[in-house]
Symmetry: C2
Subunit: 261 residues, 2 copies
């Protein structure tokens, strides 16, 4: 890659390098700097923060986005960010953008999401980072508004100095035209998935299970990402990766006194 | 499984059902209730919060721990917890214990760790939950102190009412005898991995990469898990899964005013 004076923008995702979502993201950020793409060679949805340590990684240069240096990787989204930093760029990109995911990554979905884990890995590295997800699973989803949102936020990250370790979880509602209400800063809703495993029997008579489930929002409070999306806003949740529960820490220091060293 | 009046203790891990660490954990908690084991059928280290959605899951009953109902699962640690809850128990266990991991899961390792992701999945389900990790990668590591720690903390969770959504990240130092100083409630240290990819060439002349790296503690402050372990304590970090950065949220609400809806 020939470096120039423009900011370096690393693009990745979890749906794989051929997904329409990443193509839309490349187009959204292309005017803002020198874009490089390092993305999985196959779908990696639900991979969370998995890394590949038990087998080797492949990294191949591919011609897929015109005028954009691009690599596909055999590993997870987190692997892609690590390889981009260490093998391809040999420096930190100025920002990292991940997505645009086909499907929601609001609330608790952040921990299952390869899209968000790639962004989180970049943030741990000190790279201002954001994951984008559209509330539409369809291959041919309409990314018009999502692309505008991605452009606006990437531009903001490049022009307004962000706090250290900035990591944003951005979700875009499935709306069009004036039903879209703009950006809203939110908190993560308290929600969970209720699984329903679909049990089947294979031709040899042995059981197997498909994981299915439904998303349940348990959070009726104000200011959540789920509520904002319902109201037609794109939700922006700032995320941290210090997971210490400081409230419970104080509680345990008191209530567990007898068993502490 | 025949239910009795004892508390139900779900045991899982990420090193796989045949690892010495899970055997030690089963022995540690066996006196405290009715133990069931649901664990991966192969090593799943570094799987983070991955779930299996693109392929079906297998779940097989196995005889491996005397007198303990046990299942091995083809999926990730998180899958194991979901299947245990929905397919085997049809109820929440009273607590979930994960580990004992062969190797550290302190500080940032929590996000890469299948051990901790299994515990986190249980906590999201509302099950008081804890992951145990010993700072020794060896297959034949000495689990004596780790087993005592696991017993003490599991007993504590079963007898002292825990706050809702309790999730603990417990790491045990590689020490013996009086070098072990007891339990300490800590916060997550700010740390990261510096990768060094080992590039090799296969017999067909194509490159591949092994991920290696070294752990770097960037946190010189007081009260971290890394420091406590260094001082001979077992570290106990209470973890939450609302990842909202409330400080940055306030910052963005102010500094991003012009682009908000």
């Amino acid at each position: 890659m020939v470096a120039d004076n423009r900011p370096v923008i690393l693009v990745t995702n979890d749906d794989g390098i051929t997904a329409p979502g990443i193509r839309n993201l490349v187009e959204a950020v292309r005017p803002l700097g020198q874009v490089i793409v390092v993305a999985p060679d196959s779908p990696q949805s639900g991979m969370g923060h998995a890394i590949t340590i038990g087998e080797p990684l492949r990294l191949n240069k591919v011609e897929i986005f015109e005028g954009i240096d691009s690599w596909e990787c055999s590993g997870t989204p987190v692997d892609c960010v690590k390889l981009a930093r260490d093998i391809i760029l040999h420096r930190k990109p100025d920002i990292c953008v991940s997505g645009i995911n086909h499907g929601a990554n609001h609330s608790i979905n952040i921990i299952y999401s390869g899209t968000m884990s790639a962004a989180m890995e970049a943030a741990i590295e000190g790279i201002p980072s954001v994951g984008f997800s559209l509330l539409d699973f369809a291959y041919d989803a309409d990314f018009t508004i999502a692309r505008e949102v991605a452009h606006t936020i990437a531009q903001q990250l490049l022009t307004v100095p962000a706090p250290p370790n900035t990591l944003l979880n951005v979700n875009i509602p499935k709306v069009t035209g004036s039903d879209y209400k703009g950006l809203k800063i939110c908190r993560q809703a308290y929600a969970k998935w209720e699984e329903e495993f679909d049990r089947r029997t294979d031709p040899r008579g042995r059981n197997y299970y498909w994981m299915t489930g439904k998303f349940v929002n348990l959070d009726k409070g104000d200011g959540t990402d789920v509520q904002a999306l319902h109201d037609g806003y794109a939700s922006v949740v700032p995320i941290k990766f210090d997971f210490t529960d400081t409230h419970m820490k104080a509680h345990l220091e008191e209530s567990w006194k007898q068993i502490l060293g």
